[in-house]
């Protein structure tokens, strides 16, 4: 993260900016200081599971919104996977009309409290913000994400308006999977008057929002509140249903009376590296480590929760993505004294958000770069005790544009650990394709094949979106799919025409 001066404005300065908001030219706005949010100090936050950034105050949100130049191009809208009318939203915030701003935001985004926190804004709306361009730094963008989270929290505390739903159409849709794609699709379909039931494999809805993303990045009570709104809109929830096992898609359509199905089962298949000793005790997939800590509350083991997790002294996370950062930072909060990130390239190539890497380092996570495990060894009881790491150097750029790690021959080092969290990505879970005849999948990736305009699969009345069609991606991408799929399902329910042929993706 580049060194930038994070000035704090006084209340007086904030008020003055808000008062004169209509008098500033774009030139003035370019010189305006960004309103930085405050954060919990690293030494405090490693001891709790509260969020790292403090919420913007009403004045801060207003003053930051005033920085928007309301430019003609509206790059931010195009940069948003669900196309929030950001300038209109910011204008209302600037005026202090928070209710109006919430309504504007919710026209296209049904889960703003979540996206405001977990969207990678610095590569989306904020990356293309005119402020970023003018200053040649995304740090200078209007803090769209922080304002979005502020608005969603403001609404939760000042009375949520349950979206109005169209009169019942009599049509029923089964949404498979209660994660971001499924929740978004369900909300949109309910608004259009369709009966919607979400079938969830776990005992709790939310998908990756509850089992994967940790409390300190996304408080679970916020997810629960958002899901509660869906309930008030008439969406039905059936947890503990594994489609493909408890009931098949064919049965949903033929016996249980559903008119259409939306498959949003996510990327639930953890990748391992197929290394010797990878099945040793305390070698976890990131999915398992995070599920134990988040969904099953292992950090309250012995008091409020019965699911244990390793009591580690020296833990290594393998990988450099957001999930790796979440795992490492979760370990820190579980009280693990030494937490390492083992990554095969350098920090510059890490796919994680800069903010996450920055936070992880602040909290004491140590980086061990240009290395990759090749073998794990265990003690007599089968617990991992060390790993052999292959040293790497960077070679030519690969297809992703990042420089490829190349093993340095013979450069192997021993690294002591008592816990390993493998966080190298996820593939598509095969349960549904395996139990749904005629549902085409990508041979190599196992993802369900859809056309990306209507999200239709090779099976009539069956739609799919989110990670199950692309492999592991982002929450907002999944929500975008859910939203487009809902419109497409609505169209199909109205005219009954099936144009899907599941073109190759």
């Amino acid at each position: 993260m580049s060194e930038i001066k994070k000035e704090t404005l006084t209340e007086e300065q904030l008020r003055e900016r808000i008062e004169h908001r209509d008098e500033y030219s774009n030139k003035d706005k370019l010189k305006m200081a960004k309103v930085w949010w405050r954060e919990q100090k690293p030494e405090d936050r490693v001891k709790n599971t509260d969020e790292v950034p403090f919420r913007l105050s009403e004045l801060e949100a207003q003053a930051e919104a005033v920085r928007c130049m309301d430019c003609i191009k509206k790059n931010c809208v195009a940069g948003c996977p669900v196309a929030i009318d950001v300038p209109a939203m910011l204008r209302l915030v600037g005026e202090g009309d928070f209710r109006g701003a919430v309504r504007k935001m919710k026209e296209t985004n049904v889960l703003p409290a979540i996206t405001g926190r977990v969207c990678p804004q610095e590569t989306q709306c904020q990356a293309v913000c005119l402020m970023s361009k003018a200053h040649k730094s995304t740090d200078e963008a209007v803090s769209i994400g922080k304002v979005e989270a502020f608005l969603a929290d403001w609404e939760r505390e000042n009375g949520v308006e349950i979206p109005e739903c169209a009169p019942p159409t009599g049509k029923q849709v089964a949404v498979i999977g209660g994660g971001p794609a499924g929740l978004t699709c369900a909300a949109d379909l309910a608004r259009l008057g369709h009966g919607v039931t979400i079938l969830e494999a776990f005992h709790k809805l939310g998908g990756v929002l509850v089992y994967g993303i940790p409390e300190f990045r996304l408080p679970k009570k916020i997810v629960e509140a958002e899901i509660g709104i869906l309930g008030e809109m008439g969406v039905k929830f059936e947890p503990n249903v594994v489609v493909g096992q408890t009931v098949t898609i064919d049965e949903l359509l033929e016996e249980e009376g559903y008119d259409a199905v939306f498959v949003a089962t996510g990327a639930g298949l953890p990748w391992f590296m197929d290394l010797p000793g990878e099945d040793l005790n305390n070698v976890y997939s990131a999915n398992e480590y995070l599920t134990r800590a988040n969904l099953m509350n292992a950090y309250k083991y012995g008091t409020e929760a019965d699911t244990p997790i390793a009591d580690s002294k020296r833990l290594a996370v393998i990988g450099g993505g957001n999930v790796a950062m979440d795992s490492a930072r979760t370990a820190i909060r579980l009280g693990v004294p030494e937490v390492w990130l083992i990554y095969r390239r350098t920090e510059a190539e890490m796919p994680a958000r800069l903010e996450e890497i920055h936070h992880a380092k602040e909290e004491g996570v140590k980086l061990h770069l240009l290395t990759s495990p090749v073998e794990y060894t265990g003690n007599d009881n089968g617990f991992v005790k060390s790993m052999k790491l292959q040293r790497m150097e960077l070679g030519e750029p690969d297809a992703s544009g990042r420089r490829r790690p190349v093993p340095i021959e013979g450069a192997i080092e021993e690294f002591d650990v008592d816990t390993v969290v493998v966080s190298i990505g996820n593939g598509a879970n095969p349960l549904i394709p395996r139990t749904t005849p005629g549902l085409d999948t990508n041979q190599r990736k196992g993802t369900i094949v859809v056309d990306f305009e209507r999200f239709m699969t090779s099976r009539p009345a069956v739609f799919a979106g989110g990670d199950i069609v692309v492999g592991a991606s982002t929450v907002i991408m999944a929500m975008g799919h859910g939203r487009t799929a809902a419109a497409s399902i609505h169209q199909y329910l109205q005219d009954g025409e099936w144009a899907g042929n599941g073109q190759a993706n």
């Binding site: 494999a201 408890t246 639930g268 990878e278 005790n281 244990p308 009881n381 089968g382």
Partner: protein, 294 residues
């Protein structure tokens, strides 16, 4: 949420539950299991379905108290109450050939519960089934009569010699195989150590042997990989690839180590729970005594 239609103790620390779970009852096949979570904050544990009644919409689970979660179930859940979460049926079904053959099934202790629906499945397709049932002592047998009426031949053995053959199930297995009896398949279900030695006993005779593995799981859908076992040249996920596997390919030693991954924490949680229960009971007793006095 699943209503507990029936709950009874069938042996020391072994409880029989019938749960109202119509979808699972209709769908389940021999060999499959469910994951239950008994209460808020509770753990998710896999349990094999011992029987099901699709018309009544009920499934049967037979559970031995081995730790805090199973102790809570046995001691605090009540008939007429609810099991908070039940999900399934999970895993793949037992492969039961259509052409009738001769099957040798071996169950140790609680293993008869998961074995029972498999035996039923084999009998329905006309297989000839011999069962070796083992326990530490004769009072510890469960589901014995229902097994006896189902199968062609039932051989009993006990560790203490209180009934039947005095010794281990593997010794009876060996005698049968040495006597020249021919079996198309052996199925062994019980503690990992028993299954390991059933496999070793069968190996020189080359009879195919299937085992059912009970590893630690969380989701049961292949999402976490916590249940993985070393199998042949690689790893398998018990929850979706199993629970039944070719016994010759399973690395039982590693599997037993993985089963013991949290043994220290689990022992403490179990102990703490029992202490809390006892303290509660003493308090109630003291209050009652006080009330009686006044």
């Amino acid at each position: 949420m699943a209503k507990i239609l029936k709950k009874k103790t069938i042996a020391d620390k072994i409880t029989w539950y019938e749960l109202d779970a119509p979808r699972i009852a209709r769908k389940r096949k021999p060999g499959q299991f469910v994951i239950v979570r008994p209460c808020e904050g509770g753990e998710r544990i896999p349990l094999t379905i011992a029987d099901a009644d699709p018309e009544k919409g009920s499934i049967t689970l037979v559970v031995q108290e081995v730790g805090k979660t199973t102790a809570y179930m046995g001691r605090e859940l009540e008939e007429g109450g609810d099991m908070l979460d039940v999900v399934g049926p999970l895993g793949t079904a037992t492969h039961i050939p259509d052409t009738p053959g001769r099957i040798l099934a071996i169950a140790g202790g609680l293993g008869i519960a998961p074995l029972y629906p498999i035996l039923k499945g084999f009998k329905e397709k006309g297989h000839e089934v011999t069962v070796i049932l083992g326990a530490r002592s004769k009072d510890l047998f469960i589901m014995r009569d229902m097994t006896a009426t189902l199968v062609d031949k039932l051989l009993i053995c006990t560790d203490d010699g209180s009934e039947g053959y005095h010794g281990l199930v593997t010794e009876v297995e060996k005698q049968l195989l040495e006597s020249g009896e021919k079996f198309d398949e052996i199925i062994a279900i019980g503690p990992a150590i028993m299954m390991k030695f059933c496999v070793e006993t069968a190996r020189p005779f080359g009879v195919p042997i299937t085992v059912s593995l009970n590893t630690i799981m969380i989701d049961g859908t292949g999402m976490c990989g916590g249940c993985r076992v070393q199998y042949g040249g690689g790893d398998k996920f018990v929850c979706v690839d199993g629970p039944e596997f070719d016994g010759y390919q399973v690395n039982f030693d590693r599997m037993m180590q993985r089963q013991a991954a949290y043994v220290g924490q689990e022992k403490k949680a179990y102990h703490d729970y029992l202490c809390r229960l006892e303290a509660k009971a003493q308090q109630i007793e003291a209050t009652e005594r006080e009330e009686a006095v006044s």
